[in-house]
């Protein structure tokens, strides 16, 4: 499933302060974020991050406020320079690029969508959407035409002459999306792109993004602090705390097996019945009865199918062939929210 590695982050450290190199030594010696701040007055932004992001997938990065999400994503297009470490895009070391190569990377290979939209308030929707193309050196007429295609795609046809301040938040972010897509960059960086929107509009935008992604197959790095959003969009989730990467993997895996209380707290309030899939909790060696359920079914749908014969395990199928079994007891256990003290994840094994 995982294709080529598109972006590779290796041993990345970022320390904010007057003398980051000295502070780095303390971090390598084992000092954490709070201690570094207290004893040396430096902020540990990122602490030894290693992530490989495969192409054409959606990598979600999660974490509480201040955990270093924005800092991390800004290293990919080098809006922030690291204190130590390597960032590779298509196998090329971003940190070794000179200004010109860097600009070319930002113009053509990566584009970005921002939490606060960051549109140019003095430009119309059309000009905003064409901004990246104009920087690429595309002539005005052609840029306008190409940008128009994306304005239409994000559903803003008719608003080309409006200014950002005349649009609602959701519409502004559609402009942001159109601007990012118009450059045809194959990597999309989205820093809490939908966090500033109302819940309904946010779901709308997620739909827009998923729809586009189905067809565009970009490599998307998506930051959020909303787990529902992460589960909806992400093929893979990485969780940050205090600048460190504490868990990374398949969303199902994270929900079922959180590595610590920090992660458990994250997944506490989600609708487990809807998020978890049958395949994640089935007994692969078991044999089920007459009721057949697909391995990718959500648990709440599986429960629906099994409720008439609760005593018999159901047969789990993939492409119509049986691959395991699931009994009601396991299903209910999995849907039940774990009590805080047993939230270690091992309960469901």
């Amino acid at each position: 499933m995982s294709g080529n590695i598109k972006v590779s982050i290796k041993n990345l450290y970022k320390i904010f302060g007057n003398n980051p190199q000295d502070a780095l030594q303390h971090v390598l010696d084992g000092l954490g974020k709070p201690e570094l701040l207290a004893q040396h007055n430096h902020v540990l932004g990122l602490n030894n991050i290693n992530i490989d992001i495969p192409e054409k997938r959606v990598q979600v990065i999660m974490g509480l406020s201040g955990s270093g999400k924005s800092t991390l994503i800004r290293h990919l297009n080098r809006l922030i320079d690291p204190t130590a470490g390597v960032v590779e895009v298509d196998g090329e070391d971003v940190l070794k690029m000179d200004d010109k190569q860097m600009r070319s990377l930002r113009q053509k290979k990566m584009s970005m969508v921002f939490q606060k939209f960051a549109l140019m308030p003095h430009r119309t929707v059309a000009d905003n959407a064409a901004y990246g193309l104009r920087l690429q050196g595309v002539r005005a007429g052609e840029a306008k035409e190409r940008a128009q295609k994306w304005i239409d795609r994000v559903g803003l046809t008719g608003f080309e002459k409006s200014y950002p301040s005349q649009l609602s938040g959701g519409m502004q972010q559609r402009v942001g999306l159109a601007r990012a897509l118009a450059t045809d960059a194959d990597i999309l960086l989205m820093d809490e792109a939908f966090s500033a929107l109302d819940p309904l509009i946010r779901t709308d935008m997620q739909d827009v993004l998923l729809e586009l992604q189905k067809e565009l197959n970009k490599t998307i790095i998506f930051i959020t602090h909303d787990l529902d959003e992460a589960l909806r969009i992400g093929d893979d989730i990485a969780i940050l705390r205090d600048g460190g990467l504490i868990q990374q993997g398949d969303p199902q895996d994270i929900v079922l097996r959180p590595v610590d209380d920090y992660v458990s707290d994250f997944i506490m309030d989600i609708n487990r019945g809807r998020v978890l899939k049958v395949r994640s909790i089935m007994d692969a060696s078991g044999k089920g009865g007459a009721v057949e359920i697909d391995h990718n079914l959500a648990l709440e749908d599986a429960m629906q199918r099994m409720k008439d014969t609760p005593a018999n395990p159901a047969t789990v199928t993939r492409d119509g062939k049986p691959v395991g079994a699931l009994d009601m007891r396991t299903l209910i256990d999995a849907i039940e929210r774990p009590a805080p003290e047993t939230a270690s994840g091992t309960v469901y094994r």
Binding site: R106, F117, L119, H122, S165
Partner: protein
């Protein structure tokens, strides 16, 4: 309108033919000033400065001697205070100041002599420096003088309308022109106008690039800010003195005094405006790969414009406030009239000219204010 009567030419065509010539002359004069005279002057200044730099050890020695002497004087004062047993508070009435011979050394040797030397030796360079300015001023004044008053009125009103887009302000301008005309101040006003226009052009031409430069570098910002503070707070009579020595009593001296006094706001607000551009927007331009100049002209300046305009507006107001003081060093116009009214204790005349200045200020202020508001249209939420 002016000394050169329109009727003397007999033919409107002659007038119309003169206009392009005058404009051409003005542009040429300014171009020559910027591209030839200014570099020449700077070159001459450098030639003076470099040998002078050799004298630095001597200057340092002199300074040390002055400091030493003044320290000595201070100690001696304290010593005398104790030794003479003059324990009364009277002895503390005066702070021990530099002995007069040292003060003379400092003032003459440290400041006045070098400046006189510079002014004396490079008078020609200075003349070269001011010639285009003077010519531009004269040309501008003649240009306005040549015009039949209806043309001049129409031009001013059109300009006001173009800037403000408000009939009210145009009427105000008409009232102001009427007032100035009725009291026979039109010639003086046109001289004040040409002084204003030229000083504002100079303030903007030098101030905006300087402001941009400051916004791009914190070091430059820190270095220039105190200079701007001094330019604004130093009593303007003080720098009238070197301006007088260099340029003599002349309209150009007035012009330069006005420029020095009025430039800081446009520099400050250009700098501030650029620094106030929202960080996210600047970051977005980085993220999409803009070069510095693409960012400067595509994002920073357009978004800083409302502040820049506020700066230009303040600059204009300060320039107008300077007209009377500039008249002291030879700037002609309404300011000179106010001065002479003061000299002859003529309240009516003073009021008329003063009021004319105020009217001009109000019209410009209103127009620019509205212009700035129009520039900000995109910030308003429509729908």
């Amino acid at each position: 309108m002016g000394d050169l009567k329109f009727e003397e030419f007999g033919d409107i065509w002659i007038f119309l033919l003169t206009v392009p010539g005058l404009l051409f002359n003005m542009v040429l004069g300014l171009g020559k000033f910027i591209f030839i005279s200014l570099p020449l002057t700077l070159w001459a200044f450098a030639q003076w400065l470099i040998p002078t730099l050799w004298d630095i050890p001597v200057i340092l020695f002199k300074t040390a001697r002055i400091l030493f002497n003044s320290g000595y004087g201070l100690l001696k004062g304290v010593y005398n205070f104790f030794v003479t047993f003059d324990w009364s508070w009277n002895a503390l009435n005066d702070f021990p100041s530099l002995p007069s011979h040292i003060k003379a050394l400092l003032n003459l040797g440290g400041i006045n002599q070098p400046f006189d030397y510079f002014a004396g030796s490079y008078g020609t360079a200075v003349k070269e420096f001011i010639l285009p300015l003077r010519r531009s001023m004269n040309d501008l004044r003649d240009f306005i003088d040549f015009m039949p008053w209806p043309v001049f009125f129409a031009l001013v009103l059109l300009l006001v309308f173009w800037v403000s887009r408000k009939v009210g302000v145009v009427l105000l301008a008409l009232g102001a022109l009427f007032f100035i005309g009725i009291f026979g101040l039109m010639d003086l006003a046109s001289q004040t106008f040409s002084l204003m226009i030229l000083s504002i052009v100079l303030c903007v031409a030098f101030g905006i690039p300087l402001g941009i430069f400051m916004s791009a570098s914190d070091a430059v910002d820190r270095a220039v800010k105190p200079v701007l503070d001094i330019m604004q707070t130093m009593p303007s009579f003080v720098y009238l003195i070197p301006v007088l020595i260099l340029f003599g009593v002349s309209p150009v001296a007035g012009l330069i005094a006005v420029v020095i006094y009025a430039m800081p706001p446009v520099v400050r607000l250009t700098n501030l405006g650029i620094r106030l551009v929202p960080f996210e927007v600047v970051e977005a331009s980085h993220a999409f790969g803009a070069t510095y100049f693409q960012r400067l002209f595509g994002t920073l300046i357009p978004l800083a414009l409302p502040n820049v305009f506020a700066g230009i507006n303040q600059t204009i107001m300060m320039a107008l406030a300077m007209v009377v003081i500039a008249a002291l060093v030879g700037a002609p116009g309404l300011g000179a009239e106010v001065l002479s009214a003061q000299g002859t204790v003529n309240l009516a005349l003073g009021l008329q000219s003063g009021f004319a200045v105020a009217l001009i200020a109000i019209v410009i202020d209103r127009s620019f204010h509205l212009y700035g508001e129009r520039m900000q249209q995109h910030r308003k939420v429509g729908h």
